[in-house]
């Protein structure tokens, strides 16, 4: 609900654009870390 209201206010709407980008960056970073970490057999 709060996430929907973030879209109504112009100042807070940007959060809805940036959030997917942020989580995409996290997803890619996590992938990289996983491939570099020692893998158990």
């Amino acid at each position: 609900m709060v996430a929907v209201f973030l879209g109504i206010d112009e100042g807070t709407r940007v959060a809805l654009y940036v959030a997917p980008v942020w989580f995409a960056i996290l997803g890619i970073s996590y992938r990289i870390i996983q491939t570099r970490a020692p893998q158990p057999a």
């Binding site: 709060v2 970073s29 970490a37 020692p38 158990p40």
Partner: protein, 452 residues
């Protein structure tokens, strides 16, 4: 069970145990709880339990009262009128459930990584990673905005002083304090929170005296009937109240900081339940009580959205230097937020490094048992806020803090989802139950998630 535990095991613990036993051994003998118990024992040696009960209590209060109440409430009052109190009450109920869930998890495992560790343990490694970094990002961004705010508020007394000088000075002092010892952070936070509490208590006491005894010029018009005699309790309708929810949640940002103190709090079994349990009373007294007094003293439609309503009522009561006093309180609130930011980002990087999800250097502590590298890196990023003061317009910070709210919403959601996982683990006999329990779970967990 071992397969399930293996898939949930933290990367760092897996890597460390690989080195000691080899992967075959891990698959057959080690379970998730044992790995995390080892991590907890490692943290007990690294960090120092230097936060006293009074520190933790005031950090809990300070986290619940931010700059938003002193400055931002004017905008919210003009949008919703007295109905704003309902918005704060609903938001406060959600925060209460989050804090109770956090309290239960903290008693199970009082570690500095707090919700990042719980997300790792009960939701999945990616969620632990995303929660830790999102929380770090949220505080770094908030820290940037708050040191900028401190620079702006200093203009009130020193209009010719360049904005970046007080911003840099504030960050340098807070960075130094956080590097010395966790007890010093707690001490500073204690006094910052006390200033905020004294300001709100003064508003409540003076305001109630004016309303009840009719003293001062404002006493002739001040009345509780101001709450419903200017267009009703919901003058802008239910929608007006609903639309303030995001402003309200902004104001509650930082309340979960208590969780990060768990790894360094003395007697966490006693201190943490007491501090989390009292959040609801603090919200009732400090937010709803303050709004009730403000809108009884001055009708809601006389509050200017761009002005602090507290300055307005103090001015009208006739308190000298009202604006200067509130300016001082707001500077301490901004400094408190920045102080919390430096503290929590250092701890979050420390935990992420323990799990192999951040560079290992961040997982080291200095001779004073402080995660110095994590603190230094975070402070260096916050320093960008000082640089940005030169190059970007003020509006950018509104955008940036909006993005920070997403980090908070994510963290809060992961706390209640992790709590669901913990309860499932307790039911399956994989985790120890604690006496301090979240009421109404699992329904209250879903209520919180649905409200996002």
């Amino acid at each position: 069970l071992s397969a399930a535990c293996h898939s949930r095991a933290p990367t760092y613990a897996r890597a460390k145990l690989n080195a000691h036993f080899g992967p075959e051994e891990i698959m057959s003998n080690v379970d998730m709880n044992r790995l995390l118990d080892q991590e907890q024992a490692h943290e007990e040696k690294d960090l120092h339990r230097g936060l006293k009960e009074r520190h933790v209590q005031l950090i809990a209060i300070g986290g619940a009262i931010g700059v938003g109440l002193f400055l931002g409430s004017g905008r919210a009052i003009s949008r919703a009128g007295p109905g704003l109190m309902l918005s704060y009450a609903v938001g406060g109920l959600v925060i209460f459930f989050i804090m109770r869930a956090l309290g239960e998890l903290l008693l199970h495992r009082p570690v500095a990584g707090s919700f990042a560790t719980f997300a790792e343990e009960y939701v999945g490694p990616w969620f632990g990673f995303a929660t830790g970094w999102s929380y770090w990002f949220m505080w770094v961004v908030t820290g940037m905005a708050e040191i900028t705010a401190a620079g702006v508020y200093f203009h009130y007394w020193f209009p010719d002083l360049p904005q970046w000088i007080p911003a840099l000075g504030a960050l340098a002092i807070l960075y130094g304090v956080n590097l010395i010892a966790v007890g010093l952070f707690g001490e500073l936070e204690f006094w910052f929170a006390l200033v905020k509490v004294v300001a709100i208590v003064a508003l409540l006491v003076i305001g109630l005296v004016v309303i009840i005894f009719g003293v001062s010029e404002l006493g002739h018009t001040a009345s509780f009937s101001n709450l419903w005699s200017h267009g009703g309790f919901f003058p802008t309708g239910v929608l007006g109240v609903v639309l303030t929810l995001q402003i309200v949640m902004f104001a509650y940002q930082g309340v979960e900081l208590l969780g990060v103190t768990a790894g360094e709090a003395q007697n966490p079994d006693k201190t943490l339940p007491k501090a989390t349990n009292s959040v609801i009373y603090r919200i009732l007294v400090f937010y709803i009580g303050a709004l009730l007094v403000i809108m009884s003293l001055v009708p809601w439609n006389e509050v200017n959205p761009g002005e602090s309503p507290i300055v307005l009522v103090f001015d009208r009561i006739g308190i000298p230097y009202a604006a200067g006093i509130i300016n001082f309180v707001v500077i301490t609130a901004a400094a408190s937020s920045c102080n919390s930011g430096v503290f929590s980002t250092g701890r979050m990087l420390y935990t992420l490094a323990q799990f192999g999800q951040a560079p290992r250097a961040f997982g080291k502590v200095n001779a004073r048992h402080v995660p110095a590298m994590g603190i230094s890196f975070s402070a260096a990023i916050m320093l960008l806020g000082v640089v940005l003061n030169y190059f970007v317009p003020e509006r950018v910070f509104v955008y940036v803090t909006s993005v920070a709210l997403v980090g908070s919403l994510w963290t809060w959601a992961l706390i209640v989802i992790s709590h669901l996982g913990y309860r499932r683990a307790v039911a399956a006999g994989e985790a120890q139950p604690v006496a301090y329990r979240m009421p109404g779970s699992p329904y209250t967990n879903w209520f919180v998630v649905a409200s996002w």
